[in-house]
C-alpha cells in the first residue's frame, strides 16, 4: 500500500468523523486545490504562457474553491474573495521587485548534483516561476484570514446595528490581529520544518554566516517567509476595510429600512 494514499484516507476519515459533511467538503476542496495547482504547472510548460498570469488565474480558482465551495456564495464570501484578489495583486508587485533584484529564481549551486542530468535551457522565465511559487505558498493563509475576518465582523455588526464605519473597521483590525499571530505561526513552522535539511546542509558545507546570508537558496527561503508574513498582514486592513464599507453602505441601510 502506498503511504500517501493511506495517510490521505486517514485524514479523510478523521475529517468526516470530526467535521461531518463539512469535513468531507474540506477534504474534497484540498483535492481540488491540488488539481488546480497541477493544472497550472502543466500550463506553465508552454513557454508562450506567462507563469504569473497563470498563477493569478489559479489564485482565482483556489479562492473560489476555498471560499465559495466550502462556505457557499453570499456577500460575506464574495467580499473575502475580492479582498484575497486585491491582496494578491499588491503582494505580486512586491514579490516581483524582490525576486528580480535579489536574483533568487531557479536552482542554486547547492542543488547542482540533483539537476546536472537535466537540460536547464528550457525557455521558461524562472523569475516569474519564483514569483508564482511565493504567491502560491501563502495563498492558503491569505484566504484563511479573509474569511476569518468577514464572519466575526458581521457578528459585531448584528450586535450593534448602529455602529459607524470607522468602529467596524477597528473591530475588524482587532479580529485580524488575533488571527495574524496564529496564521504566521502555522506558516512559519511549516517552512522551518521544510528547511531543516537546508540548515543542516549549510552546517555540513561549513558555510560562513556571510555565505549563508548571500546564498541563493537561503535568500529564496527567507523571502518566501517574509512575503508570506506580509501577505497575511496585508489582507487584514483590506478585508476589514471592504467589509466595513460594504456593511455600512448596503447592509446597514437595508436593516434601517426594515425597522421603519
Amino acid at each position: 500500500m502506498n503511504t500517501i494514499v493511506v495517510l490521505a484516507a486517514i485524514l479523510l476519515i478523521l475529517m468526516i468523523l470530526v467535521g461531518g459533511a463539512k469535513g468531507a467538503k474540506s477534504f474534497i476542496a484540498l483535492f481540488l486545490n491540488f488539481i488546480v495547482i497541477l493544472f497550472t504547472v502543466i500550463l506553465m510548460l508552454n513557454s508562450h504562457n506567462n507563469p504569473v498570469v497563470l498563477t493569478l488565474i489559479a489564485c482565482i480558482g483556489v479562492s473560489a474553491i476555498n471560499l465559495f465551495y466550502i462556505n457557499g456564495i453570499n456577500n460575506k464570501t464574495v467580499i473575502a474573495f475580492v479582498s484575497t484578489l486585491i491582496t494578491i495583486s499588491i503582494l505580486l508587485l512586491l514579490i516581483y521587485l524582490f525576486a528580480k533584484k535579489a536574483m533568487i529564481q531557479g536552482f542554486s549551486e547547492e542543488e547542482e548534483e540533483g539537476i546536472s542530468i537535466f537540460s536547464l535551457h528550457i525557455g521558461i522565465d524562472f523569475v516569474k516561476v519564483a514569483v508564482s511559487l511565493i504567491i502560491i505558498s501563502t495563498l492558503g493563509a491569505i484566504t484563511d484570514v479573509a474569511i476569518a475576518i468577514s464572519s466575526p465582523i458581521r457578528e459585531v455588526f448584528h450586535h450593534n446595528p448602529k455602529i459607524s464605519r470607522q468602529e467596524l473597521f477597528n473591530s475588524g483590525m482587532v479580529i485580524g490581529r488575533d488571527i495574524l499571530g496564529s496564521d504566521t505561526n502555522t506558516l512559519f513552522f511549516a517552512f522551518i520544518g521544510g528547511y531543516m535539511a537546508l540548515l543542516l546542509w549549510f552546517r555540513d558545507l561549513s558555510y560562513s554566516f556571510g555565505e549563508i546570508i548571500n546564498s541563493k537558496v537561503f535568500g529564496a527561503e527567507m523571502l518566501t517567509i517574509f512575503c508570506g508574513g506580509i501577505g497575511i498582514a496585508l489582507i487584514i486592513p483590506i478585508a476589514a476595510g471592504l467589509n466595513a464599507w460594504y456593511i455600512t453602505k448596503y447592509v446597514q441601510g437595508e436593516e434601517t429600512k426594515q425597522y421603519e
Binding site: H121, I136, S137, D183, L187, I192, G194, W201, C227, A233
Partner: protein, 372 residues
Amino acid sequence: MKWKNNLKKKQVFIFCLLLFLCLVSMVFVTNNYGVYDRPIAKVAHMEVTHSEAEIDMNGNKDRLYTQKLIGELKNGKQKGKKIELTNSYTKSKAYDQAYKTGDELFITIDKSKGKTLKGTIQDVKRDKYMMAGFWTFLFVLYGIGKKQGLFAVFSLAVNIALLAGALEIYVRTGQNLLLLSGLLVILFTVLSLLVINGPNQKTYAAILTTLLGTFASISITLLVMRLTSENGLRYEEMQFLTRPYKTVFIAGLFIGALGAVMDVAITITSSIFELWEKNHDITIQALKKSGLEIGRDIMGTMTSILFFAYISGSIPMLILYLKNALPLGYTLSVNLSLELTRALAGGIGIVLAIPIGLYISIFFIKRKRANI
C-alpha cells in the same frame, strides 16, 4: 488618560527605535564590503556581446547570451581598480543570472599579467536585499499587527535560532535530532503561551492539547510509514545530505505539524473557555457542540495553509522534470511525495487537535466547576 498617553509614548519610542535600527542596518549592508574576505565588484558597464538561439534535445527553445562586464573592485588590496568579467546566461535564467549596471557581485580575481584585471563571477551580493526584505516584513507586520505583529516576527527569529542551536548540538554530539528539536520547540511553545496568556488553566489546556495532538499525529504517520514500508516515499530530494535523511525528514515533519496543531489548540481551548467565562451555567453538551462547530470551520483552511506552503516549493522542479520529457507520474512521485506526507501529517494533527482540545478544556472546566 495618563495611561493612554504612556501607551502612545511607548509606541512612538518602539517605532523610533525600530526605524533607527533599520536605518543603521541598511547603511551597514550597503557599505559592508570590508567585512567580506571574498572580493566584491560593482558592475559599472555592461555589454551583451553575443546572443544565439538554442534548442535542447527535448525541443525546448531558449536563447543564450554572453555579456561583458566592467566592474569596480569594492574591497581588498586592489580596491577601486577596474576588473573585466564575462558572464553567459540564458533567457530562462534557471541556473544563471543576467547582470546589470549597479549589481554587486562576489568574484575571484584571476592571476593576470596585463594591465586590466580579469575575474570570474561567483555569486550575487544579496545581503542588502535580505535586509530590505526583513525590514519590509517587520514594518508591515508591526504597522498592521501592532504588538501581535511584532511578536510574530520575534517568535520566528527565536524559533529559527533554537532550531539552528538544536542542529548544532546534533552535529556536535550526535544526540537524537527528533528529540532535540522537539524539546526545544516545545520549550518555546510553553514559554510563549505562558507569556501571551499567563499561567492559567486555559494555557495549560492549550499546552497539553498541543503536545498530545502533535504526538498523536506523528505516531500515526510513523506507524503508517512502517506498516506500508514507506511505499511511494522518495527521498531523492534529500539525498544530498550526508546524514540519515529520514531522521531529518521526520524532525521536519514534527516541527511543521507542531506549529499547526499549536494554533488549533489555542483557538479551540480559548473559545471553549471564553464560552464558559461568559456563561458559567452552560451545559457540557452545548460546549461540545460549539467546540465542534468552531473546529469544523477551521480544519479545512488550516490544512490548506500547510498544503500550499509545502507543495509550492516543488514547482520549479516539476517544471524542470516535465520539460525534460519525464513522465508525469514519475515527476510527481519524486518531487511531491515528501511534501504531501508533510501536509497530510500536519492535517491529521490539525483534525485530531479539535476533539483533544475540546475534551481537555471540558476536563479543566469540570474541575473548576467542582471547586466552585
